[in-house]
């Protein structure tokens, strides 16, 4: 099977895909984009979160053929040439990264949240990130990171 789609702004044409492969497998093993993680491959942990045509999904639950012609954005597409995305920077500054396996998925989910709601309440943050499991942090510093990113995006230049 041949798949043509756009990933992080770049057109990708991949041949010889077995139709049973997930988008996650294609990203990780055929496109060299391992940022979306494979923690459960059951749609329960959110570690493989990506955007397809602007919609937040678990890449493990999407068959490769479903993204024919789609625009996909992964964690690898967030940072600029010299600067991290403000959400990425906030995760670093807040100490929200330990083993980091959940981090790419949480960052993609946080970007999705803040795109839709620039000033989320505590409960709105918790609800938005409830599909992303983290085993290391107990989430406190992840919540700090989201609040910090929201504040910085609201008022660029804020420390």
């Amino acid at each position: 099977m041949r798949l043509t789609c756009t990933v992080n702004g770049k057109t990708e044409v991949i041949d010889d895909i077995w139709p049973g492969e997930s988008l996650l497998y294609v990203l990780r093993e055929r496109m060299g984009l391992p940022g979306a993680k494979n923690a459960c491959e059951q749609g329960e942990c959110g570690s493989c979160s990506v955007h397809i045509d602007g919609v937040l999904v678990c890449a493990c639950l999407v068959a490769a053929g479903q993204v024919e012609g789609a625009q996909i954005k992964t964690v690898e597409g967030l940072a600029g040439a010299t600067e991290l995305h403000p959400v990425q920077q906030a995760y670093l500054d807040s100490g929200a990264v330990q083993c980091g396996f959940c981090t790419p998925g949480l960052i993609v989910a946080t970007v999705d949240l803040l795109d839709k709601n620039s000033d989320p309440s505590e409960n709105e943050i918790r609800e938005a990130l409830a599909g992303n499991l983290c085993r290391c942090t107990g989430y406190a510093k992840i919540l700090d990171a989201v609040r910090l990113a929201a504040a910085r995006l609201e008022k660029p230049g804020k420390p």
């Binding site: 077995w18 049973g20 492969e21 497998y25 990780r28 093993e29 060299g32 984009l33 391992p34 940022g35 979306a36 993680k37 494979n38 923690a39 459960c40 491959e41 059951q42 329960e44 942990c45 570690s47 992964t74 964690v75 690898e76 967030l78 940072a79 991290l84 990425q88 920077q89 995760y91 670093l92 500054d93 100490g95 990264v97 330990q98 083993c99 980091g100 396996f101 959940c102 981090t103 790419p104 960052i107 409960n123 943050i125 918790r126 609800e127 990130l129 409830a130 599909g131 992303n132 499991l133 983290c134 085993r135 290391c136 942090t137 107990g138 989430y139 406190a140 510093k141 992840i142 919540l143």
Partner: protein, 779 residues
């Protein structure tokens, strides 16, 4: 190899050139790679022409293997190799403490999920289908599923040596004392899983010398190598291990899982082979926390002074030993908790059964007992009519108190202060009946099952203790190689150890220590591998202590060499170097004398030389415990923490919402406060999981919930804010006075939450995790 993604190319971190020494919340040097998705975990590795491995596992907990037919698997297009126990060239068994577990099962299957055969193929799906195509004929046998029965003498033997993997008795003080008040209790702990998010994974590459290069996730490279060399029939130097990115561990990576399998397939096929467990296989592929039954009897005076503690602890170790013997010793040694008692009579057993093997998980034997003794402490306080904190304070351990092993606690033991500080922290407001409250803040959350009518508030406290470092006379050391040289006109320190960074932040601390000791801003942390001496395990909360100590020592040796060299070259200008060398310091890339005057810049002095020192560091020696009395000096360091939990319980649905967790922990010296907070918060979350969510359901030896759909780890909606106070009472025996941090947060958090639920419901609640029906069926 022409093309590959290997951790050696990605994971040599240049620490950020900022002032970032000990005591500061220095950011992780691997953080940028982790937030951009570029950090190479063991499941992200790739090599040209690599094959994929898959495992066939037993669907039965106990069976005799009558035959294995691999022919149907070999016929599948794309399959390169199918291996069984016949293909293991070296030892067929391995193990951490007792060598009893087959690399691939032969004759007898001893637990559900035991590995039988392995496949390498050109696509993971092909490998998986080929594994399923293997035909195994089984004679089903009755599993031994109850630990009490297993050690009763009436059960069939799981292993020839008997079903008691270890019995640890402790006889402390006069035996058979009597007391005014006797309180008995029986408690049960379910089987918890570490559930690190990174699946077991690795890439094995056959080497030209007939050896193997393995890039993997693990907690201890050298003990993996030792076991692998034996199994593969290779000399250890031909088994080279490199740590890839590790997605959490919590004890799950202490035992071999995929290491031998993927290496065997690479050696057989002559090609690189990658293996990545699915979440389901991960549940079968690593050991779990021991479930246990704990029967206690406390004798106390009317005034509330503990007289004696009797405990009978039976842990279910499952089919193979793993680290069961050490877990059993910990359960025994910490059976009383952080309390002084005149007499202790403890028997801890760990049993072989046909349940899944159990071994290391954060807290390591001290978790199970803390649930039991803290439940008892609450119960006794209630019987005596004393406030539970006041009762604990009457019996709290302090410096120089004796452990039940007879070992004095010869450094800070601020148990009373922990309790007082917990009690003094403000409580969150009662919200359940507040007008306009978001339903998400109530038990059951978004399921919208209550508007506050059946919700009761409860507050509970618990305190715990655990050893730091390996115990019972184990030669527990780490090795560090530190070099100093000038690169592009700037002094650069490289730190090389074999210590496993699994997420905890040792990689940050390595740079902090080197910067502090050598006064150099640029620190390169070398990838961890077996090209340097053993660092010991990333477990027992020990790496900051032992590998931190090794880096400190190696840095000081480098410093000494630099100063000797300075004396040689500059002694005629600085005669004091000869006599007062110890007062000279390396700071900001300069050597300065005792008055802070510049002697030389490192760049000018060192030029093209490389100063390199390798040093081992050991914590102070410990002793075995007496096999009859359990007396001895088995532990190097003790760590204390306490928790207060505030919960809302809906007594109509049995659902629990933890509102807040407060914790106080003594860390000796806070070397990276932000990283420590992360340990306190993350550890409390795992304790919350054991209290109300997490259990591997094993029915008749079969695991029923090997998925994140059915095994529930806390989400951000389950986890409340954590209020923490970090105490710093330096341990004079430890480098920088530090005290291991990782495990204590997981020990007392569980009993504190259970205590709060008891306070809300008035129920006894003697088993964790508490399920809704434990609350509703008895209300």
């Amino acid at each position: 190899m022409s093309n590959s993604t290997l951790p050696t190319k990605q994971r040599d971190h240049i620490a950020a050139p900022v002032s970032a020494g000990l005591g500061e919340s220095v950011p992780r040097p691997d953080g940028t790679l982790k937030v951009t998705g570029d950090f190479a975990y063991s499941s992200d590795l790739w090599a040209d022409g690599m094959l994929w491995a898959s495992t066939l596992r037993s669907p039965h907990p106990h069976a005799r293997i009558k035959s294995i037919n691999i022919a149907p698997a070999l016929k599948i297009n794309g399959v390169s190799a199918v291996l069984t126990h016949d293909d293991v060239p070296g030892a067929k068994l391995y193990g951490l403490e007792i060598i009893d577990q087959p690399v691939l099962a032969f004759d007898i299957i001893s637990f559900h999920g035991e590995a039988i055969a392995i496949v390498a193929a050109d696509h993971p799906e092909t490998a998986k289908r080929a594994a399923q195509a293997i035909i195994v004929e089984y004679e089903i046998l009755e599993p031994v599923i109850d630990a009490d029965f297993a050690i009763s003498g009436k059960a069939p033997l799981i292993h020839p040596g008997g079903n008691i993997t270890r019995h640890v008795p402790i006889r402390f003080g006069p035996q058979n004392l009597t007391a005014d008040v006797v309180v008995k209790g029986e408690y049960e702990v379910g089987m918890q899983d570490q559930a690190p998010l990174g699946p077991e994974s690795g890439l094995a590459i056959p080497a030209e010398d007939g050896g193997i290069d393995l890039y993997l996730s693990t907690q201890w490279l050298h003990v993996d190598r030792g076991q692998l060399a034996t199994v593969l029939g290779l000399p250890p130097e031909k088994v080279r291990l490199t740590l890839a990115g590790v997605g959490g561990a919590f004890g799950a990576r202490e035992d071999l899982s995929m290491q031998a399998h993927v290496s065997l397939l690479a050696m057989r096929t002559g090609k690189p082979v990658k293996i990545v467990y699915s979440r389901e296989e991960s549940f079968f592929g690593h050991v779990h926390r021991h479930p246990g039954k704990l029967r206690y009897e406390h004798g106390v005076t009317k005034e509330g002074k503990l007289v004696y503690v009797k405990a009978n602890i039976v842990l279910d170790g499952g089919a193979y030993a793993s680290s069961s013997p050490a877990v059993c010793a910990n359960a025994a040694c910490f059976a009383v908790g952080p309390y002084e008692v005149e007499s202790a009579t403890i028997n801890a057993y760990v049993a072989y059964t046909n349940n899944p093997p159990c071994g290391a998980m954060r807290g390591f034997g001290a978790v199970q007992t803390a649930f039991a003794y803290e439940s008892q402490m609450d119960k006794i306080a209630e019987v005596l009519g004393i406030d539970p904190i006041d009762f604990r304070l009457k019996n709290a351990m302090a410096r120089n108190s004796l452990m039940p092993t007879g070992q004095p606690v010869d450094s800070a033991a601020p148990v009373a202060e922990i309790l007082e500080k917990l009690r003094a922290m403000p409580l969150p407001p009662i919200t359940a009946t507040t007008e306009g409250l978001d339903v998400i803040e109530l038990p059951g959350g978004a399921c919208n099952v209550t508007h506050g009518e059946g919700v009761r508030r409860g507050v509970g406290y618990a305190v715990g203790v655990k050893n730091i470092g390996f115990s019972e006379g184990f030669d527990d050391y780490s090795t560090a190689k530190v070099s100093l040289q000038i690169i592009n006109g700037e002094p650069v320190v490289e730190v090389h150890t074999a210590a496993a960074e699994v997420g905890q932040g040792l990689v940050t601390l390595k740079g902090q220590i080197a910067r502090t000791e050598l006064g150099v801003q640029r620190v390169v942390v070398h990838v961890s591998d077996t090209q340097v001496g053993s660092a010991g395990s990333t477990s027992a909360s020990r790496q900051s202590y032992v590998t931190g100590g090794a880096i400190m020592t190696a840095c000081r040796a480098v410093r000494e060499e630099v100063l000797l060299f300075a004396m040689e070259k500059l002694g005629h200008l600085h005669p004091h170097l000869l006599h007062f060398r110890a007062t000279y310091v390396l700071v900001d890339g300069e050597i300065r004398d005792g008055q802070g005057r510049l002697v030389s810049t490192l760049t000018d002095l060192v030029q093209d030389r490389i100063f390199e020192c390798t040093r081992e560091y050991r914590h102070r020696p410990t002793t075995p415990i007496d096999p009859v009395t359990g007396q001895g000096l088995p532990h190097a360091q003790f760590a204390f923490a306490g928790h207060r939990a505030v919960v809302d319980v809906d007594i109509e649905t049995g659902l629990v919402k933890v509102i807040e967790i407060a914790t106080v922990q003594d860390v000796g010296k806070a070397l990276n406060p932000q990283a420590i907070e992360g340990q306190l918060e993350g550890g409390a979350a795992q304790g919350l999981g054991l209290a109300i969510l997490e259990e591997i359901q094993v029915v008749n030896g079969k695991v029923k919930n090997p998925s994140f759909t059915d095994y529930l780890i806390p989400t951000v909606l389950d986890m409340p804010p954590v209020r923490s106070i970090i105490l710093e009472y330096a341990d004079e025996h430890a480098p920088y006075g530090l005290r291991g941090v990782g495990e204590p947060p997981t020990i007392s958090s569980t009993p504190a939450i259970v205590s709060a639920i008891r306070a809300a419901t008035g129920l006894a609640l003697t088993r964790v995790p508490i399920r809704p029906e434990h609350i509703t069926s008895t209300m």
